[in-house]
Symmetry: C2
Amino acid sequence: MSSKPILVIGGGPAGLEAVRGIADLGYQAILIEKADFLGGMPISADYAALTPDMRSPEEAMGEMIVAITDNPSIDIRLSTTVVGSKGDAPNMEVTVKNAGGEEILEVGSVIVATGFKHFDPGKETQMYGYYEFEDVITLVDAEKMLKADEFARPSTGEAPKTVCFIQCVGSRDRQIGNQWCSKVCCGIACKQAIEVKEAAPDARVFVFYIDMRTYGFWEDEIYWKAQEDYNVNFIRGIVTEVTKRGDTLVVKGEDTTMGRPMEVAMDVVILSVGMEPSDGTVEMADTFELPLEPHGYIETTGGALNTVETTVPGVFVVGAAAGPADLEDSVSMGGSAVMKACSFIRKSELQPA
Amino acid sequence: MSSKPILVIGGGPAGLEAVRGIADLGYQAILIEKADFLGGMPISADYAALTPDMRSPEEAMGEMIVAITDNPSIDIRLSTTVVGSKGDAPNMEVTVKNAGGEEILEVGSVIVATGFKHFDPGKETQMYGYYEFEDVITLVDAEKMLKADEFARPSTGEAPKTVCFIQCVGSRDRQIGNQWCSKVCCGIACKQAIEVKEAAPDARVFVFYIDMRTYGFWEDEIYWKAQEDYNVNFIRGIVTEVTKRGDTLVVKGEDTTMGRPMEVAMDVVILSVGMEPSDGTVEMADTFELPLEPHGYIETTGGALNTVETTVPGVFVVGAAAGPADLEDSVSMGGSAVMKACSFIRKSELQPA
């Protein structure tokens, strides 16, 4: 008898890792992805390079995708969404929908890998002028430009002479309701600052930050590297406003190290937008009746010692659907959820209902 | 035919998670622990409470230990060390040694979970007076005192009126050769600052830091909590020296936010010592011929997308043996390594040599 399959929802790094792992252990996997391609945010958002190794997302995600392709244990459904669920694991009936209509899948366990969305800086009462000034962009916009090898000042198409990053846009901010630190934006800003200096070597590049959270090996691998090898300037400061004077952006705030007001002209301002639970994450929480933790992500049980188990037996969560996560977190959680979901299936077969 | 067992070396959080997962998937595990008890650093170093949930380590580790006890698939060897290895996975002969002598174990795969050691502040040319002044202690010493419900000024046994933490002792420091950020010390200092305020409510508590790296949910769960609910004072500053004037410690440095020299009297100074690879980690790297990455931890392969695989097939590394790691990292990596080690065993049986 073949085991009931494990349903993985979301084809980003955490989901891809989970699907491969399930098959490697001899279990059956069904992967549901709403887009018509796999790879998740690194592909859909056109990331230029992954942090911190600066690998090509196409190459890195490509390897993960090849590893799950043409495998009889893996059923991949693109352009498909989950629209309903009935019953409890290991006997769940999950309804999926695509252009061909609806279908009910019998599955034994579910791994939710629906990830995050980027914070929309319009929410922050436009204090940084994202929807007002062409030369104010986000980390996500910058990734696309860097990937296309076209990093330039949007309003002129020319190489910028001055570029700054503003950290913690949509993170660590009680006023907008996002009290968490998004974990990866400091590392990504370091990585992009290096890429900007490679694209525009004459540009002066600044990072305005509250705390540089380049934990673990990111400290010297990207933060020190940006400072020492690329002359990126890191300035501890609070930016209160981005305005415009003539053709140039003006960044106003306080340099909290020097203890003085700061007003600097910039050709390009990059907003380091943080993570929020994706729409898919909120929808799947609703579909599978998964409680959200106080920040709005899917709640896990067991504190620090259980990173992937939800309060619903047989339903697991991986990656940024459970909270801000870097790639390492997502991949480790993907593997851990495979262990738990396959164990769950195995135990249910040893002790049939 | 029963599979060859997977050898897990180290009975801390990552190792315990791995052993339970192996058995849950129907494979055989042997756990080697050099101490005569399980639980790893949270138990051996007498942690007062885990970060960030403030759970009792005995309770939390106790649950993990119960989950692997009296399981016919798990062979636990305490007071035992690994002293040699021959052959390649899945056909390895690993020599272990205990009071009864040496024994050769035939194993199919190995998971190294040998963890970290706390930085010894004597290394830092004693600039913080750890070996000179009784009232200068480390995070580790403070855990023991908090656990015993005896947090006091060591030289007098009385409740301290002023307590400070000095962050990044043995981390982010090129001079001593530890260029990494140890990832957890900011969170642990927040947790301990809260515990100190609970133990000595009248004490004024300060944390001197470079960057507060309370990433993800630690931001509001422990960092804001320490500030808002416990009135802990966080001061961005560089401490250059701890000296003594009369009976009182004097902390000298610069308050980098106020931009002025700082000289403050303290009853107790707590050094937030970072992580280094444990002796066991270095020994196992040698025994299994695992290359070290540039910081001296066991190297993993595949960058951000492969957190547990070493360059030696069938040998995996989890938790702080691979670099600074929090509990979540360790547990997720433990689960991920189970998936990979069991898959490795399964594949080797499908394609016998």
